[in-house]
């Protein structure tokens, strides 16, 4: 087994351990919220999901900038891989938010600024994946994808600031408040549940990313072989 594959397997195993501990902490150990009751436990998935999606689209941004600058195929493979996984985590964030919203707000969906901007983020990166699939010429697909990836990432600061700029339904962050430490707002065992699940999602993310990058490399090799024969 190569060292990269061994690293990926270790990452996957570690992610599994953290996921199991995180689920136990979130569903059993953490207390119910004083106002929201047990439905608040959805936050132990919702917050790590969106932070993982942000990280993923940041990697798309970096990979896209590097590709446009240096034209190295490995940067494009990284950006493409991160975009696909980012779409998964953004879609999950929206689904989790909707399921949490129904018992808390009384609706599955509302055209709140943060929700709408997150839906736009998802649509931009679904468009990215469609663009990559539809353009046959490899380099053109990579350049178009890189431009869209950079534009798409610019939506993330808007999503983050939307709760401050527009006072709509979505609450401001409970943890990352500039004037208050997180433990003054959130019960310590809730913070622990959130932290473990966040680590679990990050480990899972890098496991999936390593697998998706491997797929991208193999696909590139296959295309090369089909075009030029065996080299």
């Amino acid at each position: 087994m190569s060292s990269a594959r061994r690293g990926s397997t270790i990452l996957g195993a570690l992610a599994l351990v953290f996921i199991l501990v995180g689920q136990y902490w979130g569903l059993v150990k953490a207390p119910p919220d004083a106002y929201q009751g047990d439905s608040q436990r959805i936050m132990y998935l919702h917050v790590p999901s969106i932070l993982t999606a942000y990280l993923s689209f940041f990697i798309v941004f970096v990979g896209s900038c590097l590709y446009l600058w240096k034209r190295e195929p490995r940067d494009d493979i990284l950006a493409y891989a991160a975009a696909e996984i980012g779409v998964l985590f953004t879609a999950l964030t929206i689904v989790e938010g909707a399921i949490w919203g129904k018992p808390t707000w009384g609706v599955w969906w509302t055209w709140d600024a943060r929700l709408t901007l997150t839906a736009i983020l998802l649509l931009i990166f679904v468009a990215y994946l469609m663009l990559r699939a539809l353009i046959e010429e490899e380099q053109r697909a990579a350049v178009s994808g890189a431009i869209l990836g950079i534009i798409g990432f610019l939506d993330i600061p808007l999503i983050h600031m939307s709760v401050y700029w527009w006072r709509t339904l979505h609450q401001p962050p409970s943890i990352l408040q500039p004037d208050k430490p997180p433990w003054e707002n959130v019960h310590p065992s809730m913070l622990v549940a959130l932290a473990i699940n966040f680590v679990a999602f990050i480990l899972l993310y890098f496991y999936l990313l390593s697998q998706r990058i491997r797929l991208g490399e193999k696909q590139a090799e296959l295309r090369r072989r089909r075009l030029y024969g065996r080299r």
Partner: protein, 58 residues
């Protein structure tokens, strides 16, 4: 549906989606590796496997 119903719906959907994506990724990887191996096979075969007419000087 009670609060726990929403919690289990969310957790169930999330982990189902992640497991399905992981399996789909594994399947795509296996398919590409099989295609690469199939491209490797004819190239690795000895030239004596070719029909005699193809090897004959014209």
């Amino acid at each position: 549906m009670g609060h726990w119903g929403f919690v289990f719906l969310a957790y169930g959907l999330v982990w189902l989606a992640i497991v399905l994506y992981t399996l789909a990724l594994k399947l795509r990887l296996r398919k590409v590796e099989a295609e690469l191996a199939s491209l490797e096979e004819p190239a690795a075969a000895p030239s004596s496997d070719l029909p005699a007419a193809d090897n004959a000087p014209s």
